[in-house]
């Protein structure tokens, strides 16, 4: 039981990192219908920016915020300068995936070119542990969880209660109708990328804190976990991404009890595949999708 609980603790931390990342990834998809394979490397770049801040003596959490801001800005620029021109030419969905792959190569290896292949570290404040409900946390982990919760609530509030949020949902479900109804689609898309970049950047720093190192490949595995979380909840559905992040995050850690350490991540992904076999559009399946019951 102890093990289950302590793993649950790790699971919550992992989920708190995955949540903003998965929501960010999903926002990009729902705003522009692009599957951004470069998202992991965007996170990594922001994480390194955070490192630059801390290596100049800035407070870790301030660095996190700055990294988030950096991520937000680069995200909007990337969308406007790279992805939108390609989309305007009529590049297909899969063509865009390839472009984001190229983007991820450029970003990731530029990071390696600048900072080298070895890991760098954030200065973590020393501190004791805190015991909550049978689980053990370090202070940073608690802050991470806190950030995750805040982002989840803020996203929910944004989507539900603000006009901007409603506009985003409108653009996500039918962009041309939305803009015909007066929604400034371009601005909404920019906002979506801004937010997703911020969340990704913050998540990148959070990841660096959690695994105690920052390296140019840290986005690679993270990307797959993000995709797993986003797909589990249903591609393009923000609430689904949150739920997916929770499930994947906890599973990644809990399965370490049953399976030996190296196998643990497999279970999370295996669960994703199992869920998709049963419900091909993810946990939050829409009713229109379920009508297509006859497989061709």
């Amino acid at each position: 039981m102890n093990q289950v609980l302590s793993s649950l603790g790790f699971g919550i931390v992992t989920a708190s990192i995955l949540l903003p990342a998965a929501v960010g990834f999903t926002l990009q998809f729902s705003a522009t219908n692009v599957l951004n394979i470069g998202f992991g490397s965007q996170m990594t770049l922001a994480a390194f920016m955070g490192y630059v801040c801390t290596s100049h003596g800035l407070n870790l959490w301030l660095a996190l915020v700055l990294a988030g801001v950096f991520g937000a800005l680069t995200s909007v620029v990337l969308n406007r300068a790279l992805l939108t021109p390609f989309l305007r030419r009529g590049t297909t969905f899969f063509g865009m995936i390839v472009i984001t792959i190229a983007l991820s190569l450029v970003l990731e290896y530029s990071i390696e070119a600048i900072w080298g292949p070895q890991s760098v570290f954030y200065p973590l404040p020393p501190g004791g542990v805190v015991h909550i409900a049978g689980m053990t946390f370090t202070p940073d982990q608690l802050v991470i969880i806190g950030i995750g919760i805040v982002i989840a609530l803020a996203t929910h509030a944004l989507l539900r209660y603000t006009r901007t949020g409603k506009a985003m949902r409108a653009v996500a479900s039918n962009a041309s109708l939305a803009s015909a109804s007066g929604v400034p689609a371009q601005r909404i898309v920019d906002l979506a990328w801004l937010l997703s970049g911020f969340m990704g950047g913050a998540a990148g720093v959070m990841l660096g804190i959690s695994i105690s190192s920052v390296s140019f490949t840290m986005g690679d595995t993270m990307l797959i976990e993000i995709i797993a979380a986003a797909v589990l909840g249903g591609v393009g559905k923000v609430y689904g991404a949150m739920l997916g992040a929770l499930v994947i995050g906890v599973l990644l850690e809990e399965s370490a009890i049953v399976l030996s350490g190296a196998y643990a991540p497999i279970s999370a992904f295996a669960v994703l595949i199992l869920v998709l076999l049963v419900r091909p559009t993810g946990l939050f399946a829409s009713s229109a999708a379920s009508v297509k019951g006859v497989a061709a």
């Binding site: 969905f93 792959i101 070119a113 690679d220 190296a262 991540p265």
Partner: protein
Amino acid sequence: MSYYVTVMLMYVLIGVISAWGLNLQFGETGVLNFAFIVFVAAGAYTTGVLSLGHPGHGGYQQYFWGAAWPWPLPWIASTVVGGLLGLAVGAISLRRLRGDYQAMVMLVVSLIATYLVSANVGFLNGQVGLALIPAPFQGSLHLSTLGYRWFYLGLTAAFTLLVYEVMRRITNSPLGRRLRAVRENEAAAVALGTNVVATRLLTMFVGGAVAALAGAIEVQFVGAWAPSGWTYPETFGLFAAVLVGGRGNLGGVAVGALLVQGLFLEGTVLLPNIGSPDLIGAVQWITMGVMIMVFMWFRPQGVIPERRKVFDGGGAATRARRFRLPLVPSKVGGGARG
């Protein structure tokens, strides 16, 4: 210098064979197999395990089974394993999922495969991988190291031609047309009686087999194989080759492989010593990324675009004029357009 040429040619040919396999899946049928490198690895491991002989008695490598089969049996086994694995992966990920989900599931599968192999040391020697894999006929032909390399190169070239012929027959036949139909418009293909799922599984089978063959060839050239060499981004390099060269076109794809694989090896040699090997490696990947973007912008149909199939008086398909890629999806109806 001659030594270096053999290395480069080998990697180009291996890349060409792999790219043709991916082209069948992605270029012809539109299956986004982001787990492609797993099939190459399966072929490499199969040949490795079947060439190393039994593990044990103090050997420092662990792997399951083990045999010392004479060539070409390991290669044949690899091809079969690749095909079957293709079917298995296809059955899981291609049946009920939408295209974008399929792509993502494939990425996940690629990662799962890496984990599975790395985690279990007894399976394929885990993270360390297999090494000291013997090459075919190395002992029996009394050739110098360089001479053997040329021999192996010749062998590879022969198999490259074989794969070319197989691919050519498939793509020029009614089967190839069926693949392209599924790529273009799945719903219409279904409405005309095509079993789309079976078609996709077929390309997974053949593509997987070809990928595994490439892996088998590569592993006996290099002599070793480990998980770090087949992480999921490797697949992206092959996609780059297919796209840059011209998908759906065997010659184009070969050119793409030449450019992408060849360019890198050239690049390594020609680049002045600007720094550590890591830096050079990083620059290679950055170059590849930029190259992909440039090609996707200026020449999305590839260096050699897919050729239009024209039927002569008797009905034989011949070469024809260049393909004009309609960049705007055809669902935008109406309006005379040529």
